[in-house]
C-alpha cells in the first residue's frame, strides 16, 4: 500500500522547468510551430465538414468524415514516425483533441479514444512485431482502435473482471467473457482487451492485455447503445466466445499487465480532460456571442452584473482546465512522473468544469438554450458522460483522499509554491496554495487520529479532503503558468491571465475552506447513513 512520491514536491522542485512548459500547447517551440499548422488545418476542415447536429440526430459519424480525418493524419497523431505516424507529444495530441471537441464531441471521442486508450498500449508496451503489424494501418486510419475493460459486473475494479484467457496445450490462449461500453466498438478493427490469465507464463494468476481483431473467430460486436449525448460516437458490447489467439497478441508482459493497464487509463483520462476543455470552449464561444448581441433595456445582457459574473467564471474555469491538462502532460513529458494523481485531478475538474460551463451557457441563452437548434443543449448532453466514464468522479475522489491519508505517515514537509513565484501580484494566490497544503495535511491527520484506518469508511468526510486537494492542484497549475506568462511579457494576454488567476485563487480559497469544513461533518454523515439505512431496509 505504499504511496507514490508526493506529486507536489516533485513538481515544485522543478518549478523553473514546469512554469514555462505550462505556457505552451506543445512540447517545445519547434513542435508548437508544427502543431499551429495542424490546428489551422483541423479547424478549417472541421468548420467546413463536420455537421454536428446531423451527427447527433443520426447517431453516427459518416464514414467519409472519418476518412477525411484520416487524410489529415489525425489517427496517426501519437504513432511514432517509424510506423507512419506524426509522433506528436502528449501535450500536442491533447491540444488537437481539444480543437476537435470544439466542433463535435462525438468526433473528438472517436479520434481521441483511438489515439489514447486504443493506441497507448500498442505504442508503449507491445512487442516490435505486433507494432509493425498494426501501427502503420492505424496511423493512416485504415484500422481503428478501441479499448475494452468494463464488464457487466465490474467497472474499473479489475479484481472483479470475469473475462479470462486460458492457456491451451498448444500454447495458444482461449478468451471468454463479455465487455460493455466499448467506445468505437462498432467500427473498430483492433480491440485492446483486458483479461485474467491464470497459468500464463508460469504465473499462477495475473492480468494480461490482448490485441484482438474484429475478424477473430468468436469475437462479436453487439448493437449500438442509445445514449443521452455524444450520440455519434459508437458504444457497443464485445463478446468473446472461445476466441483463440497466440502469445504474439499479448501487449506487454504476460500476466503482468496491471501496470500497463493503469498507465493506459491515466493517459485516457488526460485525453478526456482535453476533450472537456474543447467542450467548455465551445459553450463559452456561443455564449460570448449571445451576451454581446442580445439586448435587454437597450443594452447587451453581457453588461449586467450577474451575467458578467457567469462569463468571468466560465472564462476562469476554462483557463484552469487548460492549465490542468498541460500540468498532466508536463508531468509526464518533462518530469517523467507517474501521472495517476494529476490525471485524476484533471479528469474530475475538467468533467465538472465542462458541465458547469455548459449549464451556465444554457442559462445565459435563456429559452433559446433549451432549444436544440442553438447547439448549447447538445453540448450539455455531450458533457454529462464525462463525469462518469474513465473512472467515475466519486471513485477518483476517494482515490485522491486515500493518497492524502497515506501520505500523512510519511511525515514529509509540505511543498511550498510561494518561493517558486516571482511576480508580486501572485503572492496572495501562492499563499492560498501553501496555506492549503498544511491545512490539508492537518485535516488528514485529524481524520486518522479520530478514526484510525477506518477513516477510509468516512467517505463524505474524505470527499472534503479530495475537493481541497483538487483546488490546491489547480492553484499550483495556474500560478506557475501565469508567473511564467508574466515573465515572458506583460501584454494583454498576461494581464488577463493574472486577473483570471486572482479570481481562481479566491474561488479555490472558498473550495478549500468548504472541503476542509466538510471533513468535520461526521454527525451529518452519520445522519445520512441512518436515513439511507432506513430507506434501504424498506426495499422488498
Amino acid at each position: 500500500m505504499a504511496n507514490a512520491p508526493d506529486p507536489f514536491s516533485t513538481i515544485l522542485a522543478q518549478a523553473e522547468k514546469v512554469g514555462p512548459a505550462l505556457t505552451r500547447f506543445a512540447r517545445d517551440a519547434g513542435e508548437a510551430e508544427m502543431v499551429g499548422i495542424v490546428l489551422r488545418s483541423v479547424s478549417d476542415w472541421a468548420a467546413k465538414r463536420i455537421d454536428a447536429p446531423a451527427i447527433d440526430e443520426s447517431h453516427r459519424i459518416p464514414p467519409e468524415l472519418l476518412a477525411e480525418a484520416a487524410e489529415l493524419g489525425l489517427f496517426g497523431m501519437t504513432i511514432p514516425e517509424a510506423h507512419g505516424g506524426f509522433a506528436l507529444s502528449m501535450t500536442a495530441a491533447c491540444r488537437v483533441v481539444e480543437e476537435l471537441a470544439l466542433f463535435d464531441r462525438s468526433v473528438a471521442t472517436a479520434i481521441g479514444l483511438h489515439c489514447g486508450l486504443g493506441l497507448r498500449g500498442l505504442i508503449h508496451h507491445a512487442n516490435p512485431t505486433l507494432q509493425a503489424a498494426t501501427l502503420p494501418a492505424m496511423a493512416t486510419g485504415d484500422k481503428i482502435g478501441a479499448f475494452a475493460a468494463t464488464e457487466p459486473g465490474a467497472g474499473s475494479h479489475i479484481a472483479g473482471m470475469k473475462t479470462t484467457g486460458k492457456v491451451q496445450e498448444d500454447g495458444s490462449i482461449v478468451l471468454n467473457g463479455q465487455k460493455i461500453y466499448v467506445t468505437n466498438g462498432g467500427f473498430a478493427d483492433y480491440y485492446t482487451v483486458v483479461a485474467k490469465t491464470p497459468g500464463l507464463a508460469g504465473a499462477r494468476r495475473g492480468w494480461s492485455l490482448f490485441l484482438l481483431h474484429r475478424d477473430d473467430p468468436g469475437l462479436s460486436v453487439g448493437a449500438e447503445e442509445h445514449k443521452l449525448g455524444i450520440r455519434g460516437s459508437s458504444t457497443t458490447t464485445l463478446s468473446l466466445d472461445d476466441v483463440r489467439v497466440g502469445m504474439d497478441r499479448i501487449i506487454g508482459e504476460p500476466s503482468n499487465g496491471l501496470e500497463a493497464f493503469h498507465e493506459i487509463l491515466a493517459w485516457g483520462r488526460t485525453m478526456m480532460a482535453a476533450g472537456c476543455l474543447g467542450s467548455a470552449r465551445a459553450a463559452y464561444k456561443l455564449t460570448l456571442g449571445q451576451v454581446t448581441s442580445r439586448e435587454q433595456f437597450n443594452r447587451p445582457i453581457g453588461h449586467f452584473g450577474q451575467v458578467r459574473e457567469k462569463m468571468a467564471d466560465m472564462r476562469a474555469t476554462i483557463y484552469a482546465m487548460e492549465s490542468l491538462v498541460r500540468l498532466v502532460t508536463v508531468c509526464q513529458e518533462h518530469l517523467g512522473m507517474d501521472i495517476n494523481f494529476v490525471s485524476s485531478v484533471a479528469k474530475i475538474f475538467n468533467s465538472e468544469g465542462s458541465w458547469q460551463v455548459a449549464d451556465d451557457a444554457l442559462q445565459l441563452h435563456g429559452g433559446s438554450g433549451y432549444v436544440e437548434e442553438t447547439g448549447v443543449a447538445r453540448i450539455l448532453r455531450d458533457a454529462r458522460i464525462t463525469r462518469i466514464f474513465e473512472g467515475a468522479n466519486e471513485v477518483l475522489r476517494f482515490n485522491l483522499a486515500a493518497l492524502a491519508l497515506g501520505g500523512v505517515n510519511e511525515a514529509h514537509e509540505v511543498a511550498l509554491l510561494a518561493p517558486c513565484v516571482r511576480h508580486p501580484e501572485l503572492a496572495a494566490a501562492a499563499a492560498v496554495h501553501d496555506d492549503a497544503a498544511q491545512r490539508i495535511q492537518d485535516a488528514a491527520k485529524a481524520l486518522l487520529d479520530r478514526y484510525g484506518f477506518k477513516a477510509f469508511e468516512r467517505q463524505m468526510l474524505l470527499k472534503g479532503i479530495a475537493d481541497a486537494q483538487i483546488a490546491r492542484t489547480l492553484l499550483l497549475a495556474v500560478v506557475l503558468r501565469t508567473d511564467a506568462e508574466l515573465r515572458a511579457g506583460e501584454g494583454v494576454v498576461a494581464a488577463q491571465a493574472l486577473r483570471l488567476t486572482r479570481y481562481l485563487a479566491g474561488k479555490c480559497q472558498r473550495a478549500i475552506d468548504a472541503g476542509l469544513a466538510a471533513t468535520l461533518r461526521a454527525e451529518e454523515e452519520d445522519l445520512v447513513t441512518a436515513i439511507t439505512a432506513c430507506e434501504y431496509d424498506q426495499v422488498d
Binding site: A159, G160, R205, L258, G406, N409
Partner: protein, 82 residues
C-alpha cells in the same frame, strides 16, 4: 486468542470475498494489489472487516505496511499477541 491457522483461514475468507474469488485460488504469498488486483478501497475493506471480527483498532501505519495475504494474517497474529 485464536491460533495462527484460524486467523489465516478467516483472512483468506475475507480476502476471497472482497476479491470475488474462491478461497482455494488464493495463496499466502499473493500480493493484494499486483496478484489479486485489489485497490486501496478494497484493501481497507479487508482490514475493516477483520478488525471488526477480532475487535481491534489498528493504526494507519500498520495497515499501510500490509502487502500480501500473509502480511494481513501476520499483522493480526502480532497485534492479538501483544
Amino acid at each position: 486468542m485464536p491460533d495462527r491457522d484460524a486467523i489465516y483461514q478467516s483472512t483468506l475468507v475475507v480476502v476471497a470475498e472482497i476479491a470475488d474469488m474462491s478461497a482455494d485460488e488464493i495463496q499466502a504469498t499473493d500480493k493484494l494489489r499486483d496478484d489479486l488486483g485489489l485497490d486501496s478501497l478494497q484493501e481497507m475493506e479487508i482490514m475493516s472487516r477483520l478488525s471488526e471480527e477480532y475487535d481491534i483498532e489498528p493504526e494507519m501505519k500498520d495497515v499501510m505496511n500490509v502487502r500480501t495475504v500473509a502480511d494481513v494474517a501476520d499483522f493480526l497474529v502480532t497485534y492479538l499477541k501483544d
